[in-house]
Symmetry: C2
Subunit: 323 residues, 2 copies
Amino acid sequence: MAVTIKDVAKRAGVNPSTVSRAIHDHPAISDKTKEKVQKAMAELGYSRNSAAQMLASGKAGAIGVVFPPVENKSEQPFFMKILTAINEEARQNEITVSIASGYSNDTLLSQVQVMYQEKRVDGFILLYAGEADDVRNYLLADGIPFVVVGTPVERANEITAVDNDNKLMGSEATQYLASLGHKRIAFVSNVDSGEVFHERYLGFSTKVQALGLTGQLLRTTEEFEIGEATALVVLDDILAIKVIQRLSEQGIAVPQDISVISFNNSIFASLIHPYLTTFDINITQLGHRSVQKLVHLLAYPEDYREKVTVPFELKVRESTKAV
Amino acid sequence: MAVTIKDVAKRAGVNPSTVSRAIHDHPAISDKTKEKVQKAMAELGYSRNSAAQMLASGKAGAIGVVFPPVENKSEQPFFMKILTAINEEARQNEITVSIASGYSNDTLLSQVQVMYQEKRVDGFILLYAGEADDVRNYLLADGIPFVVVGTPVERANEITAVDNDNKLMGSEATQYLASLGHKRIAFVSNVDSGEVFHERYLGFSTKVQALGLTGQLLRTTEEFEIGEATALVVLDDILAIKVIQRLSEQGIAVPQDISVISFNNSIFASLIHPYLTTFDINITQLGHRSVQKLVHLLAYPEDYREKVTVPFELKVRESTKAV
DNA sequence: CTGAAAGCGCTTACAG
DNA sequence: CTGAAAGCGCTTACAG
């Protein structure tokens, strides 16, 4: 019923193996034959059968995207956005994207194992980094190609990663506030672990020191006092708008009384006023590059694992002002 | 290298065809033989080769999830959440989820066509409804199994759909406000088309009429006056928090001066105060049911197309109060 | 209840 | 530059 390589071969008056080679643009096949085959394919409306191709070639032509085992994925626009970007780039490479998601490490691991063992995918993109977990250990142990979006803390040397330079971003946030004349700045976070927090905070505190400013760390999990600070570097957009509301309840207005700068440039940054001055982390690029790196790894499994750093961009909006 | 059905057969002392049947729990195979095969599989660590299975059986064991061709998918938690739910249910059914996304109807259509023609998927779940578009027309024309999340306006009779009852939700929103003593209520929207808007608004206006209340439609795209209204039914959470901020700038406080009720119960509903009274639309259930319906359709292609209505639930929070 | 055989639609050494 | 053949790992009528 469906058009096969045999039908095309018959129509073009060649052997099926020649059709297969023509399709893959094999250098040994003459241009003339390639044209004949092209023509026959077009006339018959040929589509390859991916299952047959996978079986014969041993390649799945698909990659798995692994979401973090957390409940609140849907609250973070990051995931949908990078998934879209990954799919876009995958399509350019004629690769299909399958997904693995779950709320525990166990379900995630078993999905990843099944996907790989059943040869449904050739490799993986992990959308979370940090400490090693079961999934990463499995991939590493079995030598399965994968790339991580984010920065692994362990065995970073053996892992291809794509990330922003969070330390530099923390530093530039501070620098920008300093350029507006702020001298007393606080870093605000709702967590005290995680690579993203560590790096952004490190960039902040290093820069504070370098410029001779006054800096401190404020945790939103406890009651906190702004004190003398005239500017805040907040871990991400969503936290920033919560902080701004809390300040507003205390009669402190942003940016009139205090400036706020944050990270990610998500929907939350331009949801309500004051729109946030924030760093765009270029999620589309993160997605594209991670696919490219994985494709490379698939072709050259023994090549070096390297880290790709994607540039960010400051978006100045309403939440910051000069003192 | 990888363990195949042949290896298992040899170990179990049976024919490969028997192994295949045992794996699929074929009724003709004796329990004793099934056990032998189970044991051999476990000992050898057998995993099926999905490509071979797909080729031999003609089934992909995978479904495609199609995202709407819009830019702002990542801003709506709905998509990530339903994707997670779909994947969860698919896993229960040993089905893989692949995705199709793009910013134009053309790229979306070509992805869907390729996925189906290359036999990578058996059917699709469309995450958008409303007017017929190229993708849906293609699926309908070629008799490809699919289910829609949402309510199609055309040819609804030929399409399996999973949705909430938006009209009823609009009605119950109004009813709830009326029960709090509100008599002048406005419906607030930033669009004037789309099934979701139409249905929710229809439910609102029908109920307003039935209860003898005063109702009106306010468009946020223009300057609007609350007028005499003491309560607002807002199209969705994200719009609601924007409206609340606008009111606040005019010195109107929610819920002290005016009540607000909205829909979706997304992250935006409990992001900042006042937390929103809103309807939870049960996205997890929408996702699960859509997979179940598709699986059914795959097994019984000639069965009726039907609509599944998933219940919703009112979440009372801070944005509404009695007059 | 089980086996032997053909076939699914490709790819790829091997020949020439 | 191209063909003939074997093989990838399953499934499934057909026999018995």
